[in-house]
C-alpha cells in the first residue's frame, strides 16, 4: 500500500482543536491514521515539513471565475491555478457569470468545466434571484441537484425585502446557505469610493458606510424573523461589525466575512485615481480597519476570503468612475492576512487565522473540507508564516493583473498546496 507522510511540521487543525508537532498520513486521497508496526506500508513517500505549518487545505469562499461568458478575464483553469499558488485547495465561485448561474444547466456546465480543468476543488453557488435581478426566485431545488453549495446575488443585492424574506424561507427548506452582498442602491447611487474626506477632496461620488449597514441590519432582522441563517459577504464598515456583534449576542444566526484589502488599504489610496484601488464595497478608513480587526479577533467575523475579481488590463485602464469594480486576490489573500493579522497588528494567532480560512467556511457551507480528520479528503496547505517575500503580479497564474499589491513585501505565505493527496503547486526557490 502506498502512503504519503507529511513529516515533522507543526500540525494545526482548528476543526479538531489540534496544534502540535507531528505527522500527517495520507492514502488514497484521504487522511489516514498513522500506521502501526503491523500495518507498516511498503511504499512511503515523505514530504519534509520541518519548520513549516501543516494546515487543512485553505478555502476561499468568495471568488469570481469568469466562465462562462468572460473567459478573457479568467477561466476556471487559470483561476484554479492562481488559487493553488495562493495555498487554496478549495474555492467557491460566485454566480455572476454570463449567463448568470441561476439554473441547473449553467451550474452543470460550470461543474463539468471544473471537473475537466481545475487543479483545486471548485464549488459553485447559484443566484438568489433569476438573472440576479432581485425580482423572482431562482430554482434552488434543481440547482442543488446540479451541485451548488449556497446562493447569493453577489455583485448585486436583493433590494426588495419581501423577495429576500421569501428567499430565506424557501432556502431553509433545503438547509441551503444564503450569502448576501450588502448594498442599498438608493444610498449608494453611483458611488465609486468610500464617502468621506477623500471622496470630497477628489470629487468622486461617495459610497457611504450606511449603504452597507442598512442591508446588514435588514439581514439581521430577516434572519431573526425567519429563524434562518444568513451570511454577510465582504464586510467593509465598522458599523456593520457592531451590528453583527449585537445580533450574535442575541443568538441571531448571522455571520460575516472580511477581505484582506479591506484591512490592508484605505480610501486615501484613491488619491492616485488608480482603478486598482476601486472595489465594491470600497476601501474605507483606519477606523473601519480597527473595527474589522476587532471583529476578527473576538469572533464577530467568521471568514477571510479574497473576493478575487479579475478584469482585463484594458477594462481597468479607463477613467476611474468608468472602471469596473474589483481586484484579483487569490495569490495574495492568505499571505496578506498573515502579514497583517499575525505580524503587523498581531491581533490573532495562527490557529485562529487558519480557522478563518478552513473550519469556518467549511462549517458555514457544510463542505466536507477544512479539516485534517481521518477519512476526510486529503487537502493540505503547507505554510511558512515567517517567510518574507515580494509579490510580483507579472508572475501571477491569473489571466488578469488588476491588483494594487504589485511589489508589496509580505511576511508569511503558503509553500505547498496538496489536493486529495496530490501536490498541485509548490513554491519554487
Amino acid at each position: 500500500m502506498r502512503m504519503l507522510r507529511i513529516a515533522g511540521g507543526r500540525v494545526i487543525d482548528p476543526a479538531n482543536e489540534r496544534d502540535g508537532f507531528g505527522d500527517v498520513w495520507i492514502s488514497d486521497g484521504v487522511f489516514v491514521a498513522a500506521p502501526t508496526a503491523e500495518s507498516s506500508p511498503d511504499d512511503v513517500e515523505v514530504i519534509d515539513a520541518a519548520g513549516l505549518v501543516v494546515a487543512p487545505g485553505l478555502i476561499d469562499m468568495h471568488v469570481h471565475f469568469r466562465e462562462p461568458g468572460q473567459a478573457h478575464k479568467e477561466t476556471i483553469a487559470s483561476g484554479s491555478r492562481a488559487a493553488a499558488a495562493g495555498g487554496f485547495t478549495s474555492v467557491v465561485c460566485m454566480p455572476n457569470t454570463t449567463p448568470v448561474a441561476d439554473n441547473a444547466g449553467t451550474i452543470t456546465l460550470i461543474r463539468e468545466k471544473a471537473q475537466a480543468a481545475a487543479s483545486v476543488n471548485v464549488f459553485t453557488t447559484g443566484a438568489i434571484t433569476k438573472g440576479i435581478a432581485g425580482e423572482e426566485l431562482a430554482p434552488y431545488g434543481s440547482m442543488i441537484a446540479a451541485g451548488i453549495v449556497a446562493i447569493t446575488d453577489d455583485g448585486h443585492c436583493v433590494q426588495n425585502h419581501e423577495v429576500m424574506r421569501r428567499a430565506l424561507e424557501y432556502a431553509r427548506m433545503f438547509d441551503l446557505p444564503v450569502l448576501d452582498h450588502c448594498q442599498d442602491y438608493s444610498l449608494v447611487g453611483n458611488g465609486v469610493m468610500h464617502e468621506g474626506e477623500w471622496s470630497l477632496r477628489l470629487g468622486l461620488q461617495g459610497w457611504p458606510r450606511v449603504g452597507e449597514e442598512v442591508m446588514v441590519a435588514r439581514n439581521v432582522l430577516l434572519s431573526e424573523l425567519c429563524d434562518s441563517p444568513i451570511h454577510c459577504q465582504h464586510i467593509s464598515s465598522g458599523g456593520s461589525v457592531r451590528l453583527l456583534r449585537d445580533a450574535k449576542a442575541r443568538g441571531v444566526k448571522v455571520s460575516g466575512e472580511v477581505c484582506p484589502h479591506h484591512i490592508a488599504l484605505t480610501d486615501r489610496c484613491l488619491q492616485s485615481f488608480d482603478s486598482n484601488y476601486k472595489m465594491n464595497p470600497p476601501l474605507r478608513t483606519e477606523r473601519d480597519i480597527d473595527a474589522l480587526l476587532e471583529g476578527l479577533a473576538d469572533g464577530t467575523l467568521d471568514v477571510l476570503c479574497s473576493d478575487h475579481a479579475p478584469h482585463a488590463f484594458y477594462e481597468k485602464e479607463v477613467e476611474l468612475d468608468q472602471a469596473p469594480f474589483g481586484i484579483t486576490g487569490l495569490e495574495t489573500a492568505f499571505a496578506l492576512c498573515c502579514d497583517i493579522l499575525l505580524h503587523k497588528r498581531n491581533v490573532i494567532n495562527l490557529p485562529r487565522l487558519i480557522e478563518l480560512f478552513t473550519a469556518n467556511p467549511a462549517r458555514l457551507l457544510s463542505l466536507d473540507r477544512g479539516t485534517l480528520s481521518v477519512g476526510a479528503a486529503a487537502d493540505v496547505t503547507l505554510i511558512n508564516p515567517e517567510l518574507e517575500w515580494t509579490f510580483d503580479k507579472e508572475k501571477s497564474r491569473s489571466l488578469s493583473r488588476n491588483t494594487p499589491l504589485h511589489g508589496v513585501q509580505l511576511k508569511g505565505r503558503a509553500i505547498t498546496t496538496i489536493v486529495g493527496g496530490k501536490t498541485v503547486w509548490t513554491l519554487e526557490d
Binding site: 470630497l200 470629487g203 484594458y314 477613467e319 468608468q322
Partner: protein
C-alpha cells in the same frame, strides 16, 4: 523659473504656495500682452495644443484657445461629439493618437474626476486640466485668486466666502486649495446637503446661514446653481434656495462696502445673484474672464516649457 518643474497642471491641491505664486506672477507678466494692440508673443511658436473638450464648454475653451494663439501655438479644438469617443474609442487611445500627431499640450475637459491625472500618468505631452468632474478646475481657481490679488493687493488674511453648490463644484475645490495655501480664510456657505461638514477637513469654515456672516467678507464668490442637473433630494427648489442664499440687493447692502463680488459664470440672473448686483461696481465678473486669459497663458507657458517671453 526654477520654481516650476511640472509638465502638467492637474489641480491646485498638488501645488505648494510657491508654485501657485509662480503661476500668478507669470500671469501678471502676460496680462500686459493682452493690453497691447499687437496681442501676441512667440513664446510657444511651433508648439501644438489640442483643446479636447469631452464635456461642453464655451468660456473655458475659448479662453484656452485665445491664450494659446497669443503665445503663437498652433491650436486644434476637438469636441466629444466629433471625436472617436463616440465610436467607442477609449480616452487613453484618443489621447495617444493626439500624442502620435506630436501634440505638445492637451487641454482636457471631462466629466470624470481624475481624467486629467489619468492621461498625465500615461502620456509625455503636457496635460492641462480644464475641469475634471467635481474634482478640480485649477485655472479657474488661479484666475479667481489672481483677480482678488489684483484688486485687493493681498490674499493672506482675507475673508473669502464661496456660496452655493460646493459638493459638486470643481471651481470651489480649486479655489479652496489656492486660497487656503496662500493664507486666506475661506468660508463655505450653502445648504447642508450641498456643503457637508466634512469640508472642514480642508481647512475651511462651513456656514449654512448667509445672512449672519455677510458683513465679515472681503470677497464673496457665488457659484452657479446647476439646477439642470441637481437631484431633487439635495434641496427643495430654486425659490427656497434664492430666499436663503441668493445675493439679493438687500443682502449686497449688508456686505462690506469694498467687498468683491465674483462669479465663475455662466451666471443665472435672479437666481444666485441679483441682476443689478451682477452689473454693479463691486462686481468683478468680467475682469475674471479677462484675467482668465492671462492665467491660462501663464499655465501653458510654464507647463510647455516655453521660451522667449518678452516683457
Amino acid at each position: 523659473m526654477s520654481r516650476w518643474t511640472r509638465k502638467d497642471l492637474l489641480g491646485l491641491d498638488d501645488l505648494n504656495a510657491e508654485e501657485i505664486w509662480h503661476l500668478l506672477e507669470t500671469a501678471r507678466a502676460f496680462k500686459g500682452v493682452g493690453e497691447r494692440s499687437l496681442k501676441k508673443v512667440p513664446a510657444l511658436r511651433g508648439k501644438t495644443l489640442i483643446n479636447f473638450f469631452v464635456e461642453p464648454s464655451t468660456r473655458t475653451r475659448t479662453s484656452f484657445e485665445l491664450a494659446a494663439m497669443r503665445l503663437s501655438a498652433d491650436v486644434i479644438n476637438i469636441a466629444a461629439s466629433a471625436s472617436s469617443l463616440q465610436k467607442g474609442e477609449t480616452l487613453k487611445d484618443t489621447a495617444l493618437n493626439f500624442q502620435a500627431l506630436r501634440a505638445d499640450i492637451i487641454v482636457l475637459r471631462h466629466s470624470s474626476a481624475g481624467s486629467s491625472r489619468f492621461l498625465a500618468d500615461r502620456l509625455s505631452a503636457s496635460i492641462i486640466n480644464a475641469g475634471d468632474g467635481a474634482h478640480e478646475h485649477p485655472t479657474q481657481g488661479l484666475l479667481d485668486t489672481f483677480t482678488i490679488l489684483e484688486r485687493l493687493g493681498r490674499i493672506e488674511g482675507l475673508e473669502v466666502a464661496i456660496v452655493g453648490d460646493i459638493l459638486f463644484s470643481r471651481v470651489a475645490r480649486s479655489n479652496i486649495h489656492a486660497l487656503t495655501k496662500l493664507g486666506a480664510k475661506v468660508t463655505l456657505v450653502g445648504p447642508s446637503t450641498l456643503v457637508p461638514r466634512t469640508f472642514e477637513r480642508l481647512g475651511v469654515r462651513v456656514v449654512h446661514r448667509l445672512d449672519e456672516a455677510l458683513g465679515s467678507f472681503d470677497v464673496i464668490n457665488l457659484l452657479r446653481i446647476q439646477h439642470e442637473r441637481q437631484r431633487k433630494e439635495y434641496f427643495p427648489g430654486l425659490g427656497e434656495y434664492i430666499s436663503m442664499f441668493g445675493l439679493s440687493k438687500a443682502r449686497a447692502e449688508k456686505l462690506k462696502p469694498d467687498c468683491l463680488i465674483m462669479h465663475p459664470g455662466p451666471i443665472n440672473r435672479g437666481v444666485e445673484i441679483d441682476s443689478d448686483v451682477a452689473d454693479g461696481s463691486r462686481s468683478v465678473i468680467l475682469e475674471q474672464v479677462t484675467n482668465g486669459l492671462a492665467v491660462r497663458m501663464a499655465v501653458l507657458y510654464c507647463c510647455a516649457g516655453g521660451v522667449g517671453l518678452s516683457s
